[in-house]
């Protein structure tokens, strides 16, 4: 069963990644890595941005909890949270940055072609991908919290979920545009390390 799942993931995410690589080529984006860049763009900047974003997420969560607006979110326990952070970083970036953002940017760019608004198309696509990314966290959050319907989630918890996910998503999207998928994965991974690994240990 595990191998079947692995094969399905391999095919599905392989196709999503190839579509993302194709749209990146059409949009003049770096794609997987910006080859002219060095280790600073591939490793150091994603690490610094990811850690900074992770700290912002933790502060946001702290504010929501202390204001009584939210009860916080479930996290995988340590050390499983390490693997979960790596899995989420890779899978979600292929799905939401490479595929969703790439495809939307390609379509919007085609629509806006007359005004040469590739930059606008990319940022609109980044916002669309951020909203999709945030919404994709609802089922897992409901499952882990033992909720069965959307109506059981408080408005403020929904606001927190969307706000925090939009922040990490927009930053990963900016990295994707500038330095490619590997940089976006790096930023997402390090933010998750702070959010899913460090934060539950200290809070």
């Amino acid at each position: 069963m595990g191998l079947v799942n692995a094969a399905i993931i391999l095919v599905v995410y392989g196709l999503l990644g190839l579509i993302g690589l194709w749209t990146a080529g059409k949009l003049g984006l770096p794609g997987i890595v910006r080859e002219a860049a060095g280790w600073k763009a591939w490793i150091l900047r994603p690490l610094l941005l990811g850690v900074g974003t992770g700290i912002i997420l933790c502060l946001g969560d702290w504010i929501f909890i202390h204001a009584g607006w939210s009860q916080g979110f479930p996290h995988p326990s340590f050390p499983f949270s390490l693997i979960a952070s790596a899995t989420a970083g890779i899978g979600e970036e292929i799905m939401f940055r490479s595929f969703v953002m790439g495809l939307w940017a390609f379509l919007l760019n085609a629509l806006l072609k007359r005004s040469q608004a590739t930059r606008l198309a990319l940022w609109l696509a980044n916002v669309i991908a951020a909203l999709a990314f945030s919404a994709s966290h609802l089922p897992a959050m409901m499952l882990l919290s033992g909720l069965t319907t959307l109506a059981q989630i408080s408005v403020t918890t929904l606001v927190e979920l969307f706000l925090l996910n939009i922040i990490i998503s927009l930053i990963a999207g900016e990295r994707y545009m500038r330095d490619g998928l590997v940089a976006a994965i790096g930023a997402h991974f390090w933010a998750d390390i702070i959010w899913h690994v460090i934060w539950p240990l200290v809070f």
Binding site: G17, L21, L144, A151
Partner: protein, 48 residues
């Protein structure tokens, strides 16, 4: 050549991902996920 390098890196990422996903499902039992005890008073006001 540029595209080949990009494809190789994409291939490596896409090979690592299912392995990590399998590892995640194999080693993380659901009861290892820290549950959030939901307070009924926090439940919502969103119309169904």
């Amino acid at each position: 050549m540029k595209n080949k390098k990009q494809l190789v890196i994409l291939g490596i990422i896409i090979l690592i991902y299912p392995l990590l996903a399998i590892l995640t499902y194999m080693v993380i039992p659901m009861d290892e996920i820290a549950p959030v005890q939901y307070n009924p008073s926090m439940t919502s006001t969103i119309p169904a």
